[in-house]
């Protein structure tokens, strides 16, 4: 049995590691063809790892990516594809930033201010995702399409509201929501050797990860959710109301998506502006895939992504377009899903052979058709 479990571990690792190696190989080929040296890229990226600041930025990136990945994974576990995390996160960050920066908040105690801001973000995110969930259960509208539409509508809404006549202030050439005063901010965690601090709300990301694990592994709701994802008809037969589950998981997914912008908003930028990076929702999809929707796996994937992004900034200085990292990330996603599929097929064949051996019915494959 022990040998078997070792093989299971190796098989489990084969897919992500193989995909990473393959992605590195593809990028090396691209670099060589375009006249760069892969060694220079590795040099530059590993040199940046020695700088404490890169580590802090990588961890801060990873915090955002992890929250987005959990939001996506909640949907994934029940066969729902929430592509709208991106719009949910931006709308939630923008509106909660406007609330947190409003002047009446100054009089409130700090804890209450932070809590109110985060609750607002959660509610906005859940509401925006809930539209897609509602359309899905009442009208059967595919959540993929409706969330794509809602992403675009969120972009327009944010552009509309982020205007000095509405929720934003103009400062020089920068338009942003009113800056959150110190009472509403969350202090960072200092890291020796770096002037940038680790976001204090990394603890929220950890808590969400633990909660995600607990709900899925230890509650009836989590069981229903997974069951619906594995087989809708079986879930219906055992009394699960799929409509309720769809709505609940969309709301939860949106709620977590609403939190994505919080570490940066309350710990770094202190106001929402168009500098907030778009596309975190899509990175969340990639991270959830790479980490196989597993709370720990996604944490590693988020750190990898965060590190790749943080260390890519030095590449432009070395004369190599930093987009090589984006290419690498895309190749990783594609090759990791292909690798999982290949490993799965291999595993099925292995299992069939084991069962055949155990039953003593294994045969030499006959030659068909001759």
């Amino acid at each position: 049995m022990r040998r078997l479990s070792l093989r299971a571990v190796l098989l489990g690792l084969a897919a992500p590691v193989g995909a990473l190696v393959f992605a590195a190989a593809v990028c090396s080929v691209i670099l060589v063809v375009t006249g760069h040296s892969p060694a220079d890229v590795v040099d530059s990226m590993s040199a940046s790892l020695d700088r404490p600041r890169t580590t802090v930025i990588a961890v801060n990136n990873a915090t955002n990516y992890y929250l987005a990945a959990v939001a996506v994974a909640i949907g994934f576990r029940m066969n729902l594809f929430n592509i709208g995390v991106d719009g949910q996160y931006r709308l939630a960050a923008m509106l909660s930033a406007a609330l947190a920066g409003a002047s009446f908040m100054d009089g409130l105690p700090s804890v209450l201010r932070v809590a109110l801001t985060m609750i607002a973000a959660v509610l906005v995110g859940a509401f925006w995702a809930g539209i897609a969930g509602f359309l899905k259960v009442t009208r059967g509208v595919s959540e993929v399409i409706s969330t794509i539409m809602l992403n675009a509508i969120a972009t327009a809404l944010v552009a509309f509201l982020l205007n000095p006549n509405r929720l934003a202030v103009l400062e020089g050439n920068d338009i942003h929501t009113p800056t959150i005063t110190s009472g509403g901010q969350v202090p960072g965690i200092p890291y020796s050797g770096s002037s940038t601090e680790v976001h204090g709300l990394i603890l929220v990301a950890v808590a969400i990860g633990v909660l995600y694990w607990f709900v899925l592994a230890r509650t009836r709701f989590g069981f229903d959710l997974k069951a619906t994802g594995l087989s809708e008809s079986a879930a219906v037969a055992s009394g699960v109301s799929v409509k309720k589950m769809v709505l609940a998981s969309m709301l939860l997914s949106g709620a977590v998506a609403g939190l994505v912008g919080m570490p940066e908003l309350l710990g770094g930028a202190h106001s929402y502006s168009l500098n907030f990076p778009p596309g975190i929702g899509f990175i969340g999809i990639a991270v959830a895939l790479l980490g196989r929707n597993h709370p720990i796996g996604m944490a590693f994937a988020a750190l990898l992504w965060g590190y790749l992004d943080a260390s890519s900034n030095g590449l432009d200085v070395a004369g190599i377009p930093k987009e090589i990292v984006a290419i690498m990330q895309g190749v990783i996603v594609l090759s990791v899903v292909v690798a999982y599929e290949l490993v799965r097929r291999y595993r099925v064949r292995l299992e069939q052979r084991e069962v055949g051996k155990a039953l003593g019915t294994i045969k030499v494959p006959e030659v068909v058709g001759s």
Partner: protein, 418 residues
Amino acid sequence: MSGGGLSVGVETAPTPRKRRIRPGAYWLAALGAIAVIALVRVLTGATDLTSRGTVQAALTAAVPIALAALGGLWSERAGVVNIGLEGMMVLGTWGAGFAAYQWGPWAGVFFGLVLGTLAGLLHALATVTFGVDHIISGVAINLLAPGLALFLSKLYFTNAPGGGQKQSPPLTDAPHVTIPLLSPGLRSVEDRHWWLVSDVAGLLGGLVTSVSLLTIIAALLVIGSVFVLWRTPFGLRLRSCGEAPVAAESLGVNVYLYKYAAVIASGAFAGLGGAFLAISSSQFRDGQTGGRGFIGLAAMIFGNWRPGGLAAGAGLFGYTDAMQLRGSDAVHALLLLLGIALLVLAVVQFLSGHRVIAAVAAVLGIGFAWWFFATDALPPELVGAAPYVVTLLVLALAAQRLRMPKADGQIYRRGEGG
């Protein structure tokens, strides 16, 4: 995580087969729509609603969307969801920028097409050969393509004359054609501002004045797709792969081959759409597609997975896109138009027995009309959301007649049919 997703909420009860609507009915509906638009034009005085310039701008905006939608049609008719259209378009824009500034517009078109085809091949490899979830593969392509395009653009355009890190040198546009006699004749009718007559003249005038050859090619491709997909054995087999791949397999159709062909064609169309975008705006820019691949997908769904429908959807999106560029009173008039359209929809839904939907549509319609009368202008930032809001409303309120290919998004493996 299958592309098909959960089937909850989808009405599965067999709907009684309705009498087939004659083609004439569609022309009548189109004429009715123009009459309503003309009425709104007269009421609001927003001449840009049906002016020749608007139609030209709408046409230019609609073509890339229509080509992306055509890409979606080919792929989904063979049962492969292609959400990577956006990424394929991005590659098309870069390819066009790269080739067109060196060897002219037609080389750009060809190069954009080739890059889109390669991206389509990648999607086919992932989804058909390796059985990867279609949407995941598409998302990966959407992550990969913009990175690749920007990487290549930094390499090849930074030191090119007039180029930059994120943009290509200026490109020459493809030739434009104007039909003599007809074009100025329609112009004089349009300038009279008669109800309906001048509006139709403006519409036709936009279609015969300074039309890019690329637009004509796109129109021919839409018509060609109707012919190939619905009038040839090849098309029948291709569509059978999207409806019932196992049945097709049992009849001796090589499902993998047809799926490959369809997805590669899909990438080629998307690449062509990207190339059109870059060439017609005389430059490749980073982020130029701006989600048009996704709008194309929406246009195809809007058009019920049919070429005529997707052309109408692309036209609608192109029209609202064009409105953003034209005066603000035309944009404001759009609110009234949307309100009237929703009220018409409410009546139609009421007559076919859907009381709740009719009520929702009526309330929304009155809401939009009230918004029109209560305000003087629509904030320009919100106009960009119009196509998406319309799509959501269509999906939410009028989607019963939409039917996607039955095996769309499902993973098929040879010899595993039950």
